[in-house]
């Protein structure tokens, strides 16, 4: 066995209740108890070793390169919490079996409960702070599920949401704190971190780390000012409250403080923040508890108060106070769990938790009443019960505080005051409920609960008594080992005994008890006094805050998002301006500059034509035909520019694409409205011109910035190897089919996919065919002028020949598959234009889809072919042959690859254009195609 088995078994245990639910409630409960029981037994076998001071550490490599390990450890502190979590958890499972009605989904409930238990165990067993945090978050989520178990009730949902929001937000702060700790220390390992306390405390980030970690702990442990979520979590089923608010959930924050005590405690800042939060929470919780008429509400505020007490002890920065804190963690868990269970029994059997109705229950349930009275006595700190012992230690420690300077007397005084309130509310829990007259309009006649429902309470109450009477024997060694883990060194002298002689702490206890009795006796006056204040409901404030955040977010969202793509584009462009423009401001203009090359008159004219046509396109964009003509002028100048700047391949490609694009847009114009109505408001136009001008300016600036730098290119390699390695003198083509052949393969694939996508879009489209142009002039009757038809028919073989020639010479001269493919496409489209689909259909029987497929296949297989010769994918082969009469010719595998490119380009272009053209004819593509 190893500790990892505990995690594994518990995790598997989550599914057990779901699977065994069908076997009935009893079997379900027993099976559910299996996993925690096994884990508990295993932990108990480790008890002697841990109590003797061994720390069990186990590590599992998870992702070693990332420094992530799974690591568990079991020291005294973890042991104490493990026993509480598993022990009380088992009792809760048993209790819940009787608490939940037969109709409720016990399987789901138990699954949540075990999940929560697993997460709590993982927190206390973690030896890695990231792991600890993960488990911490799982407790938030699973407690959300538990609190909202009765999800039909609005208060359950709201309470659960509040708990999740507060503890979840605290969890984020904790994560930040833990990451900072790990950053400072250099490790996520808890052992390493615990050993670096001095370094952390001296570090300049210490205040930030402390604040973040305390935020995590205080939200989880419901410390002032984050205490408000806890009372609202009482909407949970009582077993959940009994578990979450005694031994687990809220104790996780305390555990965190205790765990990081050796690292973070001991400074002025720790003392001031932790003590102050604890003190306020202690007094405030105790005071508010007095006025709660709901049994669980009373217990909830009492829990808040006791958590404040523990936090206060941990904040006191003395070793003895830390020991007292640990002792009180145990005691509080035991008596508070039993009290919650008792409250649940009363609620269950009397039908209400309102203490104004519950009176004189002693007659109906004496057994439960005795149990509750013992537990309440413990809560009040009456001698012979366990709560008394830790409270005495607390009183003793509060006397030794000097850190508030002259105000230090406040601590024992306020502690005694809280003690008085605690006695008073405990007294109310006992006297108001079990005595004090007769029951008042109870929904049902109360009676004792089922026998076994009382067993968990009996066990806990017995513990209260045993620890209260024989403290050293019962928990001495456990407390000692836990204190050893928290203090990481010499333990102070302390004695766990009931009688320490007649001293000041005892006087404080006596004052508390007597004072509590007096306060309780005069409670009606107190209620009247308190009734003058308007009670602020934390839920309303919280819900209000949530609602206003949601409203604000909706408002902002509605402002930004109006479902307009145009606006999205504009926003994207504005951000582009910001992220590209800002670095340009810092660009050193002096660093640029190699002088401009001289410019000739022709170039200036070409530049002017380009700019004028571009701007004309922009201005006349609403007259679509004119815009198309000016656009094509821009395209032509671009191809001329390519030719001018020594890129004949590009010029040829651009020219061919230009032709195809214009035909495409002409076809599109046939189907789209021919005019654009004026609809942009002037401010819109100004805004868009602004955006466009900024982008244009930025692009030009960037372009000028790099164009005027001396060139350093990797192209030397391509030029040097083009002939010897690739067998071609046209370096551009060799790059396409050889050096970067894989890129080209990908590109023709994209081209093919786009063509198929277009084909799919066109299939089954239903469009109204216009019969006249925008001025109402009907289209010409003569659809296929004979002269055009004849000439283009005659041109076809010539065009094909040219494209064949360009294809073949591509490796060595400007040309290649792309250009040849485009030329062929243009030639074929010319036939479509001149003759119409009806004429072409029987004459050119090319299936464009399969053309694309063949093209891609040929290109791919040419690449694969090199595998046959044991070479990597896409290695090309070439050789020179001397043929009689013809002379030396070169054969290269790249030519076959280029054939694939050629076929794909032809197929894709024609698939697009021919199908678009076919829309006007009876041969339109249908969905079946």
């Amino acid at each position: 066995m190893s500790l990892f088995w505990v995690s594994a078994i518990m995790l598997l245990g989550v599914f057990v209740p779901l699977l065994t639910e069908r076997f009935g409630r009893v079997a379900n409960t027993l099976f559910t108890m299996l996993a925690p029981a096994v884990s508990l037994v295993y932990i108990i076998t480790l008890l002697p070793a841990v109590l003797s001071g061994t720390v069990i550490v186990e590590t599992l490599e998870w992702i070693p390169p990332a420094g992530l390990t799974l690591s568990l450890h079991l020291d005294g502190l973890a042991l104490m919490f493990t026993l509480l979590i598993l022990g009380i958890g088992l009792l809760i499972i048993l209790y819940a079996r009787y608490y939940l009605s037969d109709k409720e989904a016990a399987g789901r409930f138990y699954a949540y409960l075990i999940l929560f238990m697993t997460a709590m165990l993982s927190i206390v067993l973690s030896n890695n702070v990231l792991q600890l945090w993960m488990a911490w978050e799982v407790t938030s989520i699973s407690s959300f599920l538990l609190i909202s178990f009765w999800s039909a009730k609005s208060e359950s949902r709201k309470g659960a949401r509040m708990a999740l929001t507060v503890t979840g937000a605290g969890g984020l702060a904790l994560l930040a704190g833990l990451l900072l700790i790990a950053d400072v220390v250099g490790s996520y390992d808890l052992g390493v971190i615990l050993a670096s306390g001095d370094m952390l405390r001296a570090h300049e980030l210490y205040p930030v780390i402390l604040t973040l970690v305390l935020l995590g702990a205080f939200t989880k442990s419901a410390q002032f000012p984050f205490h408000f979520w806890l009372p609202h979590a009482m909407a949970a089923p009582t077993p959940v409250s009994a578990y979450l608010h005694s031994a687990t959930m809220v104790k996780a924050g305390i555990f965190l403080l205790a765990r990081f005590y050796p690292v973070l405690a001991g400074t002025e800042m720790w003392f001031l923040t932790v003590t102050t939060a604890g003190l306020i929470t202690l007094v405030l919780g105790a005071y508010v508890a007095l006025f709660k008429h709901d049994l669980k509400g009373l217990l909830a505020y009492s829990t808040v108060s006791h958590l404040g007490l523990i936090v206060l002890l941990l904040g006191m920065n003395t070793d003895l106070a830390a020991v007292a804190a640990l002792f009180h963690i145990m005691n509080h868990a035991v008596f508070k769990a039993s009290l919650f269970m008792a409250a649940g029994i009363i609620d269950h059997e009397a039908g209400t938790r309102d203490m104004r109705k519950l009176n004189g229950l002693w007659r109906f349930m004496p057994h439960t009443a005795s149990l509750a009275m013992v537990a309440a006595a413990s809560m009040a700190g009456v001698p012979l019960f366990n709560g008394f012992l830790s409270k005495e230690m607390f009183f003793a420690e509060s006397l030794h505080q000097e850190a508030y300077g002259f105000l230090s007397w406040m601590i024992p005084v306020l502690a005694t005051l809280a003690g008085i309130f605690a006695v008073a509310y405990s007294l109310r829990f006992v006297h108001d409920v079990f005595f004090n007259g007769e029951p008042n309009e109870l929904p049902k006649t109360p009676h004792e609960p089922p026998r076994y429902m009382k067993i968990p309470v009996e066990i806990l109450v017995a513990l209260c008594l045993l620890v209260g009477i024989f403290p050293a024997f019962m928990v001495g060694s456990l407390l000692e080992s836990a204190a050893g883990a928290v203090l990481q060194g010499e333990l102070p002298y302390y004695s766990l005994a009931i009688w320490h002689g007649f001293n000041l702490p005892l006087v404080m206890s006596i004052i508390a008890i007597l004072g509590g009795i007096i306060v309780y006796a005069y409670r009606s006056q107190l209620y009247r006094f308190q009734a003058q204040f308007r009670e602020g409901d934390a839920k309303e404030i919280f819900e209000g805050a949530v609602q206003s955040i949601v409203k604000g977010a909706t408002h902002i969202h509605d402002k930004i998002n109006n479902d307009s793509l145009q606006r999205y584009v504009a926003v994207l462009l504005v951000f582009t301006i910001l992220i590209t423009g800002i670095p340009l401001i810092h660009l050193n203009t002096a660093a640029l500059h190699s002088p401009d090359q001289p410019v000739s008159f022709v170039e200036i004219v070409a530049g002017i034509i380009l700019c004028v046509s571009a701007i004309a396109t922009m201005i006349f964009h609403r007259k679509r035909m004119i815009a198309l003509i000016t656009l094509s002028v821009v395209g032509l100048i671009v191809s001329v520019a390519f030719a001018r700047f020594s890129a004949p391949d590009l010029a040829l490609t651009q020219l061919a694409v230009e032709v195809v694009t214009v035909i495409l847009l002409m076809l599109a114009l046939f189907f789209l409205p021919q005019k654009t109505p004026a609809e942009s408001s002037p401010s819109r136009v100004v805004r868009d011109i602004g955006i466009a001008a900024a982008i244009g300016g930025i692009v030009a600036t960037i372009n000028y910035a790099f164009i005027s730098q001396p060139v350093s290119s990797i192209s030397g390699f391509f030029l040097a190897n083009s002939k010897v390695g690739g067998g071609g003198t046209n370096a551009v083509n060799v790059i396409l089919v050889d050096f970067r052949g894989l890129d080209t393969l990908g590109e023709i694939l994209v081209l093919g996919i786009a063509a198929f996508g277009i084909f799919k879009l066109l299939a089954g489209v239903r469009l109204a065919m216009p019969t006249a142009n925008e001025k109402g002039v009907p289209w010409a009757e003569d659809r296929h002028p004979p002269i055009l038809a004849m000439i283009s028919q005659a041109l076809l073989p010539l065009a094909l020949l040219v494209s064949f020639y360009i294809f073949l010479r591509g490796h060595n001269m400007p040309g290649g598959g792309f250009i040849a493919g485009l030329i062929t496409s243009v030639a074929l489209i010319q036939q479509y234009i001149a003759h119409g689909v009806d004429w072409i259909k029987p004459r050119i029987k090319l299936d464009y889809q399969s053309l694309i497929a063949w093209g891609v296949l040929i290109a791919t297989f040419t690449g694969i072919g090199s595998w046959l010769y044991g070479r990597p994918f896409m290695t090309t082969w070439f050789d020179y042959f001397d043929l009689p009469f013809i002379g030396e010719i070169e054969l290269a595998s790249a030519l076959i690859f280029d054939l694939g490119v050629y076929l794909t380009v032809v197929g894709a272009t024609l698939l697009i254009l021919a199908n678009l053209g076919k829309l006007t004819s009876v041969h339109r593509p249908t969905a079946e195609d």
């Binding site: 671009v638 390519f642 847009l665 005027s708 391509f718």
Partner: protein
């Protein structure tokens, strides 16, 4: 020469972006075409402008940078495929939605503005 070149790139970008921001599909298609010219010119110029560089080995001592040329060549073809796709998409949208608006319907703010402006006139 360089200055003239980048001015041309800037102007085409400007017109392209402006047209892309229009509300009708055809204008956007024209804008995209214009933008792809600008982008191709921009990328092409990363090999610098060589006036008399040889494209073919052995024809001259100074060569034009072949790498941007190869990249731009495929970019031109892919750009065509993209524009074709957008064109067909807008035709399809016209068929299915009954209009050629980029948003498929009148944008909420502009429609109102125009109406109020017209009312003023």
């Amino acid at each position: 020469m360089e200055l003239l070149y980048v001015i041309c790139v800037g102007v085409t970008t400007f017109c392209g972006v402006f047209l892309c921001l229009r509300g009708r599909t055809f204008s956007v298609v024209v804008g995209l075409t214009m933008l792809s010219y600008a982008v191709n010119l921009f990328l092409f110029s990363s090999g610098r402008l060589s006036l008399n560089g040889a494209a073919i080995l052995g024809m001259s001592d100074s060569y034009a940078d072949p790498l941007p040329q190869a990249l731009v060549l495929t970019a031109i073809v892919i750009g065509f495929a993209m524009i074709a796709f957008v064109v067909i998409l807008s035709i399809r949208a016209r068929a299915d939605l009954g209009n050629d608006l980029v948003d498929g319907r009148d944008p909420p703010d502009t429609g109102k503005l125009i109406k109020s402006n017209r009312a003023k006139l």
